[in-house]
């Protein structure tokens, strides 16, 4: 199964995070790549560099900033190929952003039948 893993930055959680014995991002990457679990992924520029686009009554509206008003923002993503959700959860739990941020796992929409 393919999962999109959003890497979410959360300033409130980051302020409260206790130091833990976690992997560095390079160690995490080395682990998932060696097991063939990561298809691709990247960091994203902060929301101050975001642009939102939509059509309203035939007019194109371009606005500065992200589509949601939230302290949390998507700082990066990884596309994972896992046997099941438990495997994806275990990979997410080892990501350095699990401490001080959060990870959201979304299965790809697949039409099987």
């Amino acid at each position: 199964m393919k999962y999109m893993m959003f890497v979410v930055a959360d300033p409130d959680a980051a302020a409260e995070a206790e130091p833990e014995d976690e992997l560095t991002i390079d160690e995490w990457l080395a682990d998932v790549e060696s097991r063939g679990k990561r298809i691709t992924g990247d960091r994203l520029r902060p929301v101050s560099d975001a642009t939102t686009v939509r059509l309203s009554h035939g007019q194109m509206l371009v606005t500065d900033g992200p589509f949601t008003e939230s302290k949390e923002w998507i700082a990066g993503f990884d596309i994972l190929e896992c046997d099941n959700l438990d495997e994806a959860i275990a990979i997410a739990a080892r990501h350095p952003q699990a401490n001080g941020g959060k990870l959201e796992l979304r299965p790809f929409w697949t039409d099987e039948d």
Binding site: Y3, C82, D83, N84, L85, D86, A88, L105, D113
Partner: protein, 408 residues
Amino acid sequence: MTTDADRATAEAITSVVAAERTSLVASLIRLTGDWDLAEDCVQDAIERALVHWPQEGMPRSPAAWLTTAGRNRALDVLRRRQTERAKLQQRAIMDEMGRDSAEQAGLPDDRLRLIFTCCHPALPLEGQVALTLKTVAGLSTAEIARAFLVSEPTMSQRLLRTKQKISNAGIPYRVPPAELLAERTAGVLAVVYLIFNEGYGQQEDYLAAEALRLARLQVDLMPTEDEARGLLALIAFQMARRSARFDARGELVPMEEQDRSRWDAVLIEEGNWHLRRAASSGRSPGPYRLQAHIAACHATAAAAEATAWGTIVTLYDALLAAQPSPVIALNRAIAIGFRDGYAAGLAALDALDPKALAGYYLLPAARADFLRRLGRSDEARGAYRAAFELAPAGQPEQRLLQRRLDEL
């Protein structure tokens, strides 16, 4: 004409169906991955049994008869679907039919896979509860809807969304591996305890009875899990008191005024037996075992005055250390009042953090109770009124507070 033989057959069918339904559903889900198909085919097999068995007599192995009927039904339905997936599902069922029972031995019980999947932490809690009641306990959607005070279509939607998430999110149908087992077991026990608490205290308490059955099933399936025994004992002790908790008019009877001869001695012995088995594990007790030991102190006291309050306070201390909670702290303070005297109890209540218990009627109710016993009637009346305002409106708990006020 209904004969004794007919009645015996009907009873035998009911008990076989109750014993086999969950296993059958669980194994068909494993083979096909299709929850609705599994439930429909098992239902169909049960209906066939109800027609055939009274006419033809009970088969030699009713469980095998039901299994075959359920699988054949599934094969019929899948043949009509003609998709690639349906072909794989048919093959899985036929392979299973060709396997002998020696090959099956040693594999995890399918019911355990079912329970762990229903209670996967990625599912919403209300979905975990509903799906456990539907597929493990075998309740109808209408019964579950009634218990949670929602409409049947709403509950139907909830069950559908939960099953869809299992399939869409890739939740595996399995008993979790060792590194996840402790955490996931705690989740499974929590769902059963939640079902119990939802049902217990209601006069129509079929959910609590279901929780007792589920707790027994979990002990059967996980005999070395001493917290599962703790939860079963806790539920058994509380269920033992259920018929004494309400009087003939449906009014709540406080524990110390209950007729202890009406407590169910068989359930109390069941609880004690599981606590002894759990203690023989040598592990230090977890939260369910500690709560069960507290319930045992009440259940085994010959009279209210003979309750081992000293032991109860010690158990609450351990419970607070394992699982800090304002409600446990409140119960500990009440126990201190019965161990050391009502004035000490009042002091213990006043030492609690009122913010943590804001809006909780049992804090002013406990104060009122100690004040009444101390003969401080004016203060007691004020506290009873405060408790009355916060208590669930129109419920037996609130009517008990009104009775106390009237008595003062």
